[in-house]
Point group: C3
Chain length 181, copies 3
């Protein structure tokens, strides 16, 4: 047998392996979904624990955030929005009535991710709900709605390229009323 034939054989096998592994790894729905689920959790901790850097880091450079208060286009606008939010929360905390017990923070829950991957972009939606406490420190659901998302993989990392916040409790922002632009 000629050496060339041998090398060709080896190459054929290796290419075949690469294709199969790529199917298992690169184009794996589970891998993409796992990373996007983690992204959604990172977003919530950034929001609830007031970490503007982490929050901005979940969006692409040209990411769009469409929320009840307006539309932020790009990381700079998103940063301004979330830093204002965090500053307001900090101020409220500092100016609170200190004769009362420490206030209990609100938290957001994410459920029911429906996700469609298309190479390096993806679309998805998920329910969000928020929990707060009333003046008697009793917890309750305060609002709910869902996210309509577009994601993009940038340098191997999934990020939000567009996030629309549907809120069933804000007139004009309900499902079937608000729409992504």
């Amino acid at each position: 047998m000629k050496k060339n034939t041998f090398i060709s054989g080896c190459l054929a096998v290796m290419i075949c392996c690469l294709v199969m592994t790529n199917t298992a790894l690169g184009a794996s729905y589970a891998e993409d979904r796992a990373e996007i689920e983690n992204l959604m959790s990172v977003y919530i901790y950034a929001l609830d624990l007031k970490d503007p850097d982490a929050y901005v880091g979940t969006f692409t450079e040209d990411g769009v955030l469409n929320h009840a208060g307006g539309i932020e286009r790009g990381r700079a606008e998103i940063r301004e929005f979330i830093e204002n939010n965090a500053a307001n929360a900090r101020r409220a905390m500092e100016n609170r009535d200190r004769s009362k017990p420490r206030p209990i923070p609100s938290r957001h829950l994410i459920d029911n991710l429906e996700l469609h991957i298309n190479g390096d972009t993806a679309t998805g939606r998920a329910y969000w709900s928020s929990m707060s406490v009333d003046e008697n420190r009793q917890p309750h659901i305060s609002e709910y709605g869902f996210y309509e998302d577009e994601y993009r993989r940038v340098n191997g990392k999934w990020l939000f390229s567009k996030r629309l916040i549907v809120n069933e409790f804000r007139p004009g922002r309900e499902y079937g009323v608000v729409s992504a632009e």
Copy 2:
């Protein structure tokens, strides 16, 4: 070296690769879980957003749905059940008191999927809870329970072959009382 030996060697390597890739891909717990999680989300959007076609499409042809109102066997019965549900909801929406603000829809949350895969069949359970609003538009948890599910992979797609809805608030349907038939 004989050509036969060479071809045998290559075949051995390729079979070995196929087996390994299959382990990584076909028999991957993460892939199966990711697809079943998505199925569960598709089911909830079909239910909450009143889409009977999407709802029926989450079951196998011979799928069984065991709910508080009865047992539906096969897609035709499941379709009749969910179309009635959607029609009732539509009617209630049309006949509502229009002097009041638009009603806020109920939503279902799914949590804590415990899933066991066995080739092309699987069993699982997950908590569900529903959120509704009262007459003052205050949201609250309205009911909760869990699903006991059987799944089957049909043409490469995971579907419900049996779904039992446990509901802790309906006498006879509570955990430990109701059972799959």
Copy 3:
């Protein structure tokens, strides 16, 4: 061509395949995340359905559970803690006022897992919330907080090596106040 060259070639290809498959399988974020998500669900069913064996089985032999009532070190202490809990619940159930309807059990929801894998160890956090019913059988959120977890893979199985329960409603156990030891 020499036989040795041929065998070397085959070995090279096989090692290459092994490495690739390992990347796809052994070191897969999705596989690890899927298994840890399932672990978290198993934990909740063990807790809510009062199954001390299943509960203890989610921890490593030297696992640490840091909860509002104290710190349990190792499976023996964890077992004592959870068996006491289950016995108290059983007693309350037996001694309940039987002129009233069967009480509706509390359930725990887990959301927003943020997970970082590092070989055979991992760290993560997730929100928990609990649902209960009041004296009128109306469900509501009773408490919430989050878990700060460390995980270890033992004999191929992910387990909790450390679980810290943050509870926003218990003084001294709130986020930013309590810390893992």
